[in-house]
Symmetry: C2
Subunit: 459 residues, 2 copies
């Protein structure tokens, strides 16, 4: 990875205008020519993430949003008994064959299966038992006739819902009584079979799965009260800059309040990580190196939001390299905003140097930090939430060979969503506050036209 | 609203097959003919939600995901001073007019603006000052020339990044010195103007806005350390059914574990509410009425997941009506799964009776409960997260006049996402566990064809 590096400032090559490179004399500076496209940059980062997060055992109820560390298999079949999907009568299907409204089948109802109890009724030929939706099917029955497909013969003041009627003050039915079945049922009709939901020993959820509400339901349905999940990645966040002050302070001329620590922390939480704020470090090499080493030792990932000046960027590069191997992987990503992002890894942990501009910092953390948080938890497929398609309201120019992200507001249009670009410099956090998401302009697209359908990443 | 109700069981009308309605004699039962389409049902529910949630004042840092109770305006402009967007020299633009590589403008550099400090340098005609990205622009300057557009005349061993270089051991530059400007700059070029991000007193966020990471950053940038947010809605959840047991118990024949309390609780959390689990109530009218009244008194919304049998559904209707006015608003929504959903309101609070089937319960809570949670917090526009478009892998039949939701797995295809339906009865929670979302088949579409683009609600 180190082959990318040269001990020469990029401007010497990139800026033919400058007849002498004013940075060339600063031997301590390190910079890269290589600016990788985002996908390659992410792959390079991923291949250097080797740190393994420990597993923790959590009550299933509290595991919402967490990532399974190991696959889970079914300890028993679900359902564990044959259940009725209708209110009606459990029958032997053969007894109803040929039944119709003009020629009903007559059955003798010999009992009722109460909800939540075993089906202790034995059915002989021509017999039936009252069952309720979700109730157990007697062993000797193989189908359920819906109540609406039957009628009583005797004209009994019968509650067909039997003893179960919680608000009925009617007498319980007197068994046996006779019913007419007005339509035949097939074997298995209106019956949920044993294991129809899940078979015994089936893998129900793979390792790396992010637990959703239905997954918790599915686990608890099987009595799985605890699961092994990956510990949440702890992400250390440092803000740097002599001009940066804590938000609660009054800004003097030349000073600005820290934004990036909080926007990045919010993205960390959304991705399932735990932000660890390391505060604001002045533009001092020793101070930053000490703070970075200290924070990286306690966390699983380190993010530094540096200022955007060249000197500060170079300092961040140097600090990351001093932290350990492999250090800086690349300094520059073919995107706007956020080209001067520093992507690195130390001891298998991701280390990122974000541009100081708040828009760049968010876009770049979303591009590298967020996928890294998922990756460290073993998530193979990033959640698909948050991508929508919308139709562009106006032309947008872009440079080929660069992936552009343009903040946009979404509106409802006649054919779907409309994306209205919110233009502004990447120093302006309110371009993101006023936007619903980011339009992505693919790498080798020279621009987009009004009416084009674009992918908008909700933000 | 009560005009929808009739004291007669729906089957009498709906089931011409049944020559005598077996439910007709149960005077206590209440049911509705009216089955509204989901949008109308939701509007009816919304018009009955009048409960006002209190406001609470939270530290901005901790307000991620919360909903603003009042609009926020900017206490000062942002930025509060003119800032450079480049490393370079603050100049008077007029001094550079006509400058080119062959005919550079010569300027005298008289000082440097250190980061985080006021720009105390005074520029006379033909003078410039070193500025760094993000640094303050001297009052007498009106533009910034990028470092790459200049060169030193003297050949000084100059660090143009000046005293600021945190890793340079070079001598600070000796002022004054001369530079050549190789390209002219316009007034305001490379300068962030006062208030360019936000003007003083501008409304920066409206009431009802859900706070995202960038919003926290924008608030803190202005020194807004606390915000008024709506208290999270507390949602009471009751499971009912003689057959339902707590997940930690061993299921005996005929018993099933509670799923719905946990799936609904997960959806509540995702929407920004606080679930309050009321436990499992047997199919007993008095017990359910007592538990429901008790839970509703402590919460802002009540959800009962009843069994799916007619008697239990009728009991839920009766309980909701007894809780207070207006009670049940409608019993039935034109959707599958989940048609027999009971939508009600009591004292301005939403009260829902969900079908017991786990798939129906989740789909219906997502359709009514989730929007109600947002609504109660004053959110006008539901978050757009979680809707994707995908191409159907096979034909799906549907009934006109009904909105169908089909669980589906998503896969990557050549033209975008592919939605592969996961078929299964609504009693089977694993149809949702195995799905990534739900395909929506609109109300009056008879079905969909393979290759059709469909909306999939991620779940």
């Amino acid at each position: 990875m180190k082959t990318f590096r040269v001990q020469k400032h990029a401007c010497c090559k990139a800026q033919p205008l400058a007849t002498t490179c004013q940075f060339g004399k600063l031997g301590a500076m390190t910079e890269f020519f290589n600016v990788l496209p985002p996908d390659e940059a992410r792959d390079l980062l991923f291949s250097n993430i080797t740190a393994v997060l420990p597993t923790e055992n959590l009550p299933t109820e509290k595991a919402h949003g967490r990532v399974l560390a190991t696959a889970v298999t079914a300890p028993h079949a679900l359902p564990q008994f044959r259940r009725s999907t209708m209110d009606g009568y459990a029958v032997r299907a053969a007894d109803t064959f040929g039944a119709s409204e003009s020629l009903p089948a007559f059955l003798q109802v010999v009992g009722e299966v109460p909800m939540g109890q075993p089906a202790n009724v034995q059915l002989g030929t021509g017999q039936a038992a009252i069952v309720h939706t979700g109730g157990m099917i007697p062993e000797t029955a193989d189908a359920v006739v819906q109540i609406e497909q039957t009628q009583t013969v005797t004209g009994n003041p019968l509650s067909v819902i039997g003893n179960q009627s919680p608000i009925s003050n009617l007498q319980p039915p007197q068994f046996p009584f006779e019913i007419e079945v007005l339509r035949s049922v097939a074997v298995g009709q209106n019956v949920l079979q044993l294991g129809e939901d899940v078979q015994l020993d089936a893998e129900i959820l793979p390792a790396g799965h992010i637990l959703r509400p239905q997954d918790l339901g599915g686990l608890l349905a099987l009595g799985i009260m605890a699961v092994d999940v990956v510990r949440r990645p702890r992400v250390g966040i440092l803000a740097t800059g002599d001009e940066v002050i804590a938000p609660e302070k009054t800004a003097q001329p030349g000073q600005i309040r820290d934004i990036n620590s909080y926007t990045v922390a919010g993205l960390v939480v959304q991705a399932g990580g735990v932000p660890v704020l390391g505060g604001i470090i002045p533009d001092n090499f020793a101070a930053l190196e000490t703070a970075a080493a200290h924070l990286l030792a306690q966390t699983d990932m380190l993010v530094m939001s540096a200022g955007s000046s060249v000197s500060v960027r170079d300092m961040t590069v140097q600090v990351i390299d001093n932290l350990g191997e492999p250090g800086v992987l690349l300094h520059g990503v073919a995107t706007r905003p956020g080209k001067p992002t520093i992507v690195g890894a130390v001891g298998g942990k991701p280390v990122l140097g974000l541009p100081g501009n708040p828009v760049s910092a968010m876009v770049q953390f979303d591009m590298f930090g967020v996928p890294a948080i998922y990756r460290m938890q073993g998530v193979a497929q990033m959640p698909r939430r948050g991508l929508v398609w919308a139709q562009l309201s106006q032309n947008i120019a872009s440079e080929s060979g660069r992936e552009d992200y343009i903040p946009a507001r979404l509106a409802d249009g006649p054919e779907g969503l409309i994306a209205v670009p919110v233009f502004g410099k990447s120093n302006l956090i309110y371009t993101l506050v006023n936007a619903d998401g980011l339009i992505k302009i693919p790498l080798n697209k020279g621009g987009l036209l009004a009416g084009d359908w674009v992918e908008v990443r909700l933000f």
